[in-house]
């Protein structure tokens, strides 16, 4: 079974091909085919996971081509890391695809949506199973493409197409860095396969500052894909896409690919001198965790709040990986995928009901959307790390790792945890509490109503997972997850009661602050805004990153383009025109020779032959 793992990505690919070509004519306008593809793949992924837990491992390789003397070996790997990712992607993607049937109903490009979803699923599974950087890179670009296509799915909206372009271009920056890193590794180790690269590293044939550089370049790709500072600007805008896309691509899977890449290539970072690379990973993660949370505080678009939250949580994962909490980082990836997908889907359900993203126009939805409310609440509790929900165990493990490694990072993480509770509390307050504030002002919308069964059932399943999944990493049960996925040279340090208490306190304090601001009105939010205007403006302006990018890259680029254009127009074209003019003049000169009449040519040929013969004879 495990050696046939390469079949799994092919199932969504087949669905993609079928839906692309015969979409409208397939059952359910292609949706059922797409669902069948991913559900089968997900089931197969679970079987593989079971096999791997039972001890099975596989590495299917194939010599693709030989570059000079270096064979380019590609293949798929099945180990605990990829098996967990495979199962997670399969299950989450299945649920989201089923959910999409309800969410996308009535869309004119319905089959195309499912085709893109299938293509994305193929790409993601392909990426997860890759045992070499080449396949990773191919999958990386494919998911990027799908992300572009799906963000811009409603391309008739200018904001959507601009957001798609932004996402594509910004992630390309990271991808380019990653490509250079990969080439650097290939240059020095002669292979793209992870195990051979690691062997070369372990043997000490490649190390020092160059290794750090290569590791950081590869990490650059992860920064772009996982929306870490400073390449985070695309993720909030990406919320222009349909909500299932946000759930699948921009919460659960693709953005987590960066984390997966760092985990997959962990020795690369680990073996840098003095864990330099890991330190940088940790700081990038820590800063993002805090920055994302702060920006989420002032956002009114429900999906954008969740996007900032995603950014922040991905920062936690990098923080965990960077502070030698390999298991903790991966565990948070897993739990986050579940509860963030849940949150996005629930948010989608809300949007579906009220027709707008603006939280200020919601409110009082508890009664109208009971299932959505309860599942959303479970997701929120999991996100804010309230025991016994999933997020508590994973975030706690990360904070423990951070504390043991670097107190500054721990502080950043703790502040982030506090703010997480605060902005989620704010979100819940605006959405569910109070009275209904009318929803979409333009559409004549009746009273909000609960979403259809096809959307709520996935929510319930994900909520159940969000409740129980954390326990597989609980120290109380001997932390089976850590025994399954761990980096051999690291042992997960057990957290002390004090540390757990500190992180729990941060979360609860965050909730309390939210309570103080909104339901109990101890402090007025407006007063805060007026008290700290500079901070508020800074946050609303997203730390001016977009502005800086606009000035430096977009306008700066325009200047460079203008210069290049002028150079091309006058210098290069001028030269070419000069040559053309010269050729033309010469042509005018010799044109009389070409009469276009063959008898002239024949006469000249005969004359020439005669002259040659005579000359040869006389000599």
């Amino acid at each position: 079974m495990t050696s046939l793992v390469w079949v799994i990505p092919l199932l969504p690919l087949a669905a993609f091909v079928a839906v692309t070509f015969w979409g409208e004519r397939l059952p359910g306008r292609g949706a059922y085919v797409s669902i069948a593809g991913i559900v089968l793949a997900g089931a197969a992924g679970l079987v593989v996971l079971a096999d791997v837990i039972g001890g099975a491992r596989a590495d299917v390789t194939y010599t693709w081509l030989t570059l000079g003397t270096r064979p380019l070996v590609v293949g798929f790997v099945v180990d605990p890391l990829s098996a967990v990712m495979l199962a997670m992607v399969g299950v989450v993607a299945s649920l989201i695809t089923i959910y999409s049937v309800g969410y996308m109903a009535g869309d004119p490009r319905y089959p195309r949506f499912f085709a893109y979803l299938s293509l994305f699923q193929f790409s993601m599974l392909f990426l997860v199973l890759a045992d070499n950087l080449l396949f990773i890179y191919a999958g990386w670009e494919l998911v990027g493409l799908c992300s572009y296509l799906l963000i811009g799915f409603w391309f008739e909206r200018p904001a959507a197409s601009r957001a798609a372009l932004k996402a594509f271009v910004v992630t390309r920056v990271g991808d380019f860095s990653m490509m250079i890193g990969i080439l650097l590794l290939f240059l020095h180790t002669g292979s793209l396969r992870f195990d051979e690269i690691f062997r070369a590293l372990g043997a000490g044939t490649f190390g020092g500052p160059t290794l750090t550089l290569a590791a950081l370049l590869v990490f650059g790709g992860a920064v772009g894909k996982s929306a870490q500072v400073p390449l985070h600007v695309w993720l909030p805008d990406a919320m222009e896409g349909p909500t299932p896309v946000s759930a699948l691509i921009h919460a659960a899977t693709m953005v987590a690919a960066g984390v997966y890449l760092v985990a997959r290539a962990y020795p690369l970072f680990f073996l840098t001198p003095g864990h330099q690379a890991l330190t940088i990973v940790a700081y990038v993660g820590g800063i993002t965790a805090l920055a994302g949370a702060t920006m989420g505080l002032v956002e009114n678009d429900i999906k954008r709040v969740l996007a900032y939250s995603t950014m922040s949580q991905l920062g936690y994962m990098f923080l965990g990986l960077g502070t030698l909490g390999y298991t903790a980082g991966m565990f948070h990836l897993l739990t986050h995928a579940v509860f963030k997908a849940l949150l996005f889907l629930a948010a989608g359900s809300i949007i579906h009901a009220v027709g707008t993203n603006d939280m200020k126009r919601m409110g009082g939805l508890t009664r109208a959307l009971p299932v959505t409310f309860w599942t959303f609440l479970i997701g929120t509790l999991a996100l804010t790390a309230i025991p016994p929900f999933a997020g508590f165990f994973s975030k706690d493990a990360i904070l423990v790792a951070a504390y043991l490694h670097d107190k500054t990072l721990w502080g950043l993480g703790l502040a982030g945890a506090f703010l997480t509770s605060l902005y989620m509390g704010r979100l819940c307050w605006f959405t569910f509490a109070g009275t209904y504030r009318g929803g979409d002002p333009e559409a004549a919308h009746g009273a909000p109503h609960e979403s259809p069964r096809v959307m709520t059932v996935p929510l319930i399943i994900l909520a159940a997972l969000a409740v129980v999944l954390g326990w597989v990493g609980a120290d109380v049960f001997g932390n089976p997850f850590a025994r399954f996925i761990s980096f051999p040279e690291l042992t997960a340090a057990p957290g002390t009661l004090g540390l757990v208490g500190a992180s729990l306190a941060a979360a609860v304090l965050g909730w309390a602050a939210a309570g103080a601001l909104y339901p109990w009105r101890l402090v007025s939010p407006a007063a805060l805004r007026q008290g700290l205007p500079w901070l508020y403006t800074l946050l609303v302006r997203k730390y001016y990153v977009d502005v800086v990018y606009d000035w430096v890259f977009v306008r700066g680029g325009a200047v460079i383009v203008w210069i290049a254009d002028a150079f091309d127009r006058y210098a290069i074209d001028g030269l070419v025109n000069l040559l053309g003019w010269l050729a033309r003049q010469v042509g005018f000169g010799v044109r009389v020779l070409q009469t276009g009449r063959e008898e002239t040519y024949l006469l000249l040929a005969a004359l020439g032959a005669l002259v040659i013969v005579v000359v040869r004879l006389v000599w």
């Binding site: 070409q594 009469t595 276009g596 009449r597 008898e599």
Partner: protein
């Protein structure tokens, strides 16, 4: 006594006639006829050399046969081209076919 030289002179004259036709005729079919004459002149040479210079050999005649074959091919393709050009430009006079004039 007829010697090799007799044949060579004859073939030279025939070749000259053919060349003259090719160089001065306006009609493409007439030019083709000139080419046939030149090929025949060459063939006379081949066969004559075969008989007088290398009596034991076969190659002269073999080559003449090949030349005849190629001449047939050339005539077929050449005449097909002339027909096609006639359909397109309604002329078989080569000096009127000057669309390639620079």
């Amino acid at each position: 006594m007829i010697t090799l030289t007799h044949y060579l002179v004859l073939s030279a004259l025939l070749f000259g006639l053919g060349l003259y036709a090719v160089l001065t005729r306006r009609n493409s079919v007439a030019m083709l006829m000139g080419i046939e004459l030149m090929l025949n002149a060459a063939n006379i040479n081949l066969v004559a050399f075969n008989k007088y210079a290398a009596p034991g050999a076969m190659q002269g005649q073999i080559f003449a046969l090949i030349v005849i074959t190629i001449a047939a091919c050339e005539a077929a393709v050449g005449l097909a081209l002339i027909l096609a050009a006639y359909r397109r430009f309604e002329t078989t006079y080569v000096d009127e076919l000057d669309t390639m004039k620079g």
